[in-house]
């Protein structure tokens, strides 16, 4: 592999605990290689584009950036911005936070006395190769920390913007969200770029979320990066008793995108709702591998993942749900619906429910469909031309997921992106 460790390590970290994490991750990497198609978890995903290029870490100086079009009107004072994974205080905006709400970068979190080291890099699955690659050079993170019983209605925006000028970069965004018992928040995490030329880059993101007892998080993750990008992302969520996690994962961009979405139940009676939408055309490849690992009783989980695939693009879905003996009275549902828009579009879908508990209610389903002549004709018979009819039907398919995002301006932006999908 051309991605060597010496290329991954940058300047010494700000505190010794980071060094510990780095060393541990580096240790994992000694034993590992970039996965190939022979690895079950990467069976359908072609990582060749990653191996044939050399990526360098970003320079420490922040390039100039105008992120005006990315800011959310609903989150004017709750916005963290990172350019190429580096914190950009001039572009961020944090003000008027209720007591008990922390939003800031890693250094600010440490200064505020938050016990970040107790959580950072502690989610299960840290040995996974791309997670380890990120952790091996960790030096920054977006941190959101809500104290016990604190709620914030205002959505929190975490914006990771890539600006690639000359060389192909390897960027490692990192997020950590801790919601203590009884707290609640809404977060919008976005991966976008402002690169003017189609410069390839490798974006390897890790987000770790800890939900305390009865805590509630609505988390929207949007990846809309340039179609030369390789984007690998991990979202790891640990849920304590009675907590609720609603995740909305939207994948629109990148040449190759892979989202490893892992939910670990550590207390009983949790609620987990995973909503996903992947829209790919051209030669794009989008892969979502999700895991819901239940270990306690009375959990409720529901997953709806939708893919829209056009041209020669490829979407992959593998949804694992583990329901062992200890997870009695689980109620788990999973549905993957796919829309193919061309004869060369491809979808690989694998629901994977592993159930050893005997008193549970679990269901799963996968459908693959295309735009029906009858549907298009019905719309034509009402005066719509074929292209408008197709856009309306594609939009209708996508909107079921988009409508689940609680922030209006985000929904509007996504609807615009969906409408532009056919035009590309």
């Amino acid at each position: 592999m051309t991605l060597t460790l010496s290329q991954l390590l940058t300047t010494p970290p700000l505190n010794p605990q980071l060094q510990e994490l780095r060393t541990q991750a580096t240790g994992y990497l000694q034993e590992e290689t970039i996965p190939t198609r022979k690895d079950e978890e990467w069976r359908f995903t072609d990582l060749a584009p990653l191996l044939t290029k050399t990526f360098t870490p970003p320079p420490p100086q922040l390039p100039a950036a105008n992120i005006g079009s990315f800011t959310l009107p609903e989150a004017l004072n709750t916005r963290l911005v990172f350019i190429n994974g580096i914190y950009a205080p001039q572009l961020s905006s944090i003000a008027d936070l209720p007591t008990g709400v922390f939003i800031g970068n890693l250094a600010a979190a440490t200064t505020a006395g938050l016990a970040v080291a107790d959580y950072l890099g502690k989610q299960p699955g840290g040995e996974e190769v791309f997670t380890a690659i990120n952790t091996a050079r960790i030096d920054e993170a977006a941190v959101v920390w809500l104290s016990k019983d604190v709620s914030i209605e205002t959505p929190i925006q975490i914006l990771f913007v890539a600006i690639i000028e000359e060389t192909a970069l390897a960027i490692s965004p990192r997020s950590l969200m801790i919601l203590e018992a009884g707290s609640s928040a809404t977060a919008i995490e976005e991966y976008l770029d402002l690169s003017s030329s189609d410069r390839a880059y490798f974006n390897n993101a890790v987000t770790e979320i800890w939900l305390g007892d009865t805590a509630k998080l609505n988390h929207t993750r949007i990846q809309n990066q340039d179609t030369t990008t390789i984007h690998i992302g991990k979202t790891a969520v640990s849920q304590s008793e009675h907590s609720s996690y609603t995740g909305n994962s939207i994948d629109l961009g990148a040449k190759l995108s892979r989202h490893n979405w892992e939910i670990f139940q550590i207390g009983a009676q949790t609620e987990t709702y995973l909503n996903g939408l992947a829209m790919v055309n051209g030669e794009q490849e989008s892969d979502t591998h999700s895991v819901i690992a239940l270990t306690k009783p009375h959990g409720i989980t529901n997953q709806l993942h939708k893919c829209i695939v056009d041209d020669r693009a490829h979407a992959i879905f593998n949804g694992k749900v583990f329901v062992p003996q200890a997870a009695q009275q689980t109620n788990a549902g999973q549905l993957n619906r796919n829309l193919l828009l061309s004869s060369t579009a491809r979808i690989d879908t694998k629901p994977q429910l592993e159930i050893t508990a005997d008193n549970v209610k679990c269901s799963h389903g996968a459908t693959v469909s295309q735009l029906e002549d009858d549907e298009i004709f019905y719309l034509q018979s009402r005066g719509l031309d074929v292209e408008t009819a197709k856009i309306l039907l594609i939009n209708a398919f996508a909107v079921e997921i988009i409508d689940r995002i609680p922030v209006a301006s985000v929904r509007e932006k996504l609807v615009v992106a969906v409408k532009a999908f056919r035009a590309n």
Partner: protein
């Protein structure tokens, strides 16, 4: 209403058409003038629904011969959406459900595409909402339906009424009702028929395709045609429908010669 001086809205001459290589229409000829209501009846498989789909331009059907003129223009020169924009409306026998598209948005887009075509003002969401509220009563539709997805979760009767509501918004010159009464109970039938009657004027024309005579108690036709084996085998006034009701289709399709 028959008026010999009315302009011809639709003229079908010796139309033949097939689907998947099987010929269904075997030479249909028909002329419909403005202000008229024509009913087409016939046994299953006679080609009644096929005729309506061919006129609307369904892609599964291929015209193999004949000519159709709509308001002086060759109908087959027009794409389905242009036929619709020019005022041809097909009320589907099985209206489609379109989850994710609201009734209101769908109707507005359809309305505006017709407006644009005829060079009139397109309406924004607010103005359109006013327009549609006024039309709901024609089919006794609950305003709550407008925010639901097109036909999603609608009963058979509600779907048919939704078709007539669309007709009320689009104000077609030629409305083709394809077995609009199928699957309806008597109350739904009356609402649909009443709606159609309110929309029938001396400037537009209706082609009502039906299997049963019952609908024609409520939508009084000027002419009744009977189709069998892809052709119109006889035509008459509204009494013909009553005779058919009494004697059955066999009365016509068996030993009698084909009427010209």
């Amino acid at each position: 209403m028959i008026n010999p001086n009315s302009p011809v809205i639709l003229s079908i001459e010796h139309l033949t058409a097939d689907v998947d290589g099987t010929q269904i229409l075997n030479g249909v000829s028909l002329e419909i003038k403005a202000g008229e209501i024509h009913a087409i009846m016939g046994p299953n498989g006679s080609g009644k629904s096929t005729l309506s789909k061919v006129l609307a331009g369904h892609p599964a059907y291929t015209v193999t011969g004949g000519k159709v003129t709509y308001r002086g223009e060759n109908l087959f020169d027009l794409e389905p959406q242009d036929r619709a924009r020019s005022g041809v409306f097909l009320a589907f026998q099985y209206p489609l459900e379109i989850p994710g598209v609201s009734n209101l948005d769908f109707l507005r887009v359809a309305y505006n595409s017709r407006q644009k075509h005829i060079g009139l003002e397109e309406l924004d969401a607010f103005d359109f909402d006013e327009l549609i509220q006024a039309k709901l009563d024609i089919v006794k539709m609950n305003p709550a339906f407008l925010s639901r997805s097109v036909n999603e979760g609608f009963s058979g009767g509600e779907k048919k009424r939704n078709e007539i509501l669309q007709m009320a918004i689009l104000q077609p010159s030629l409305a083709i009702l394809d077995e609009t009464d199928s699957g309806l109970d008597i109350d739904a039938l009356k609402i649909v028929a009443n709606g159609v009657n309110q929309l029938s004027t001396q400037d537009n024309a209706m082609l009502v395709i039906t299997h049963y005579q019952r609908l024609l108690d409520y939508i009084i036709p000027d002419y009744v045609h009977v189709m069998s084996n892809g052709q119109i085998i006889t035509s008459g006034g509204k009494e013909l429908a009553l005779e058919l009701e009494a004697k059955g289709y066999d009365w016509l399709t068996e030993p009698l010669p084909v009427a010209t």
